[in-house]
Symmetry: C2
Subunit: 369 residues, 2 copies
Amino acid sequence: MKKTVHVDLGSRSYEIVIAPELIQNSRTYLEPIIEGKRVAVVSDPWVSRNYQELLKNTLDPITSRWDLYLIQEGEDAKSFGCLEGLLDKMLADGIDRQCLVIAFGGGVVGDVAGFAAALLMRGIELIQIPTTLMSQVDSSVGGKNAINTRQGKNLVGSFLQPKIVLNDVSILSSLPANEMKSGYGEILKYGLLRGDKEFVWMEKNLSAIMNHDRDALVEVIRMGCETKASIVSEDERDKGKRALVNLGHTFAHAFETFAGFGRFQHGLSVGLGVIAAGLLSEKTGFCPEGITDRVKKHADDAGMPISLQSLHSETTWIKEELYQKMMHDKKTVNGRINFVLLEELGKPFVCNTVCKEMVLETLAEIGAV
Amino acid sequence: MKKTVHVDLGSRSYEIVIAPELIQNSRTYLEPIIEGKRVAVVSDPWVSRNYQELLKNTLDPITSRWDLYLIQEGEDAKSFGCLEGLLDKMLADGIDRQCLVIAFGGGVVGDVAGFAAALLMRGIELIQIPTTLMSQVDSSVGGKNAINTRQGKNLVGSFLQPKIVLNDVSILSSLPANEMKSGYGEILKYGLLRGDKEFVWMEKNLSAIMNHDRDALVEVIRMGCETKASIVSEDERDKGKRALVNLGHTFAHAFETFAGFGRFQHGLSVGLGVIAAGLLSEKTGFCPEGITDRVKKHADDAGMPISLQSLHSETTWIKEELYQKMMHDKKTVNGRINFVLLEELGKPFVCNTVCKEMVLETLAEIGAV
């Protein structure tokens, strides 16, 4: 089974191809883009150790030369130092504006490689081959890239749309359970953004997805990519509608900055954030009661945390301080927090008039004191 | 006298306003853009010492807050370290996506401030107030920004179109003679790109320009900006026609990398590069003889170097090595150097089929051994 999602961005449009065993069969897709040029593959040690051979067989005959650039695993690679080191190495090797960058790895590789491609000679071509559920379903769509600074995550970055995204679901079978759950946090979000039909499908197919069933994975990744693609194509530069893909993220970012980054996976935080957004939607009266219970049950079935304690038991979660973190979110404007709320499944909207008490009550309901 | 150049880039279009005493009278232009928001002014110690008061009077009543960020003077500021330091300081101060950056200084300030604005939260709004002839006539048009790496100049950068550019010609009266000559190197280039009528005007008005006559400055800066704007609006991302604004630059970059950066002003190198491009155009038979003599005389009248010795007498200029530098120019593709040549004044074109001997002969004619 193979699915294709078209990301409609005028002259920057591209395809996302989703299929099993895609890397070894990617020549059809890559050859017309690479056209014999030189390629810089950016990856991390784990991915390259396990999958470099697959890529090598495809790249050898269709490139004039390709080199592997490894960045360290984990969020620490999203730093100025790592970016500068990568750019410096590429330039010293003679990478020029005719070359292409392939981001081959998870979200961190996608961010650093995408940022490097955006800045080299003010932008060279980029191909994304994401290797985690999280990056396939979410971070590979929309052209955003960024690094972290001491003030927060993703505060410095740019936009560069790839020429193509290849989502090989076979590669996901080696993903640890926690990484699958983390990716599923974003999928949960897309299910809620889409509507009841998709959410029912997810309820039915949850165990197939978590057990790496290829058809189920292709379908659910298509759903996520298509949802994000349709939003991004209306608002590439994140000036309005793209805010909707932040459902759950105002909460999730507060959880992460309060506990300290790296204590738990981003997607797990998003999953719980989505539940909190549902609770807040009910509390404010926008959304009928009951929907969030269903979402909570689904997250629980997926093995995802449904309370702050199960997200990270060593943290004492203080609601007032979590609220202060939200006040300092980069999307908070003039002290008004921008929440994405739901009227019902498939009907999200941005609301910046939620009163503090309701947010604190919501945080209490998921375990904050 | 006031002139306005419209840079037509669809939703990213903007105006360049050129007038004397513009900074103290800029409220009309800045207020609708700033709308009471917070502003980060990036400048260097010299400019801020001399002109901060003018800007302060305009900004105080129309911003909620404004802060001054100083970067060091000179090309060394175009580094990763300086960029990182600036971004870090802005973020620590709470600069968010609602804030604007004003680049207030010469080309270096424009590059670093523009790059910082492009990367902060993936792009916040930018206003340019260039304070040198070079930056008013050239680097403030077209949205390019960059820093240098150990491999070369401007190899890492991005695009960010400003909301407005304010070119205050009064500020140029304090510019040292060598800075005026350097800016004039780019003006010379635009004169040749435009045609005989403009070049005749420049021949007549040269001494007025060099003596800071305001009307002559407004007119010649308008001519330069308009020429670049019309090219950039056809090719914002530098994929084709924008190459024409590189007339003289393949030579100029080779002179600079061979001698070592900072030995002489960029614009002086460009002026001599333009002469070399003219000589090469005649040698290849594309351009009738005589035009370059006229250009050379004009450059000489402007007090600009018309030989490599007068550009930098301490350097032994070796033509073979200069040629090798051109081979490694970032615009050289597959070993083919892209020269911008002239058929006549006002008729530039890109040529990548010039044989090596003709280039070496040209270099010899301007003093290389």
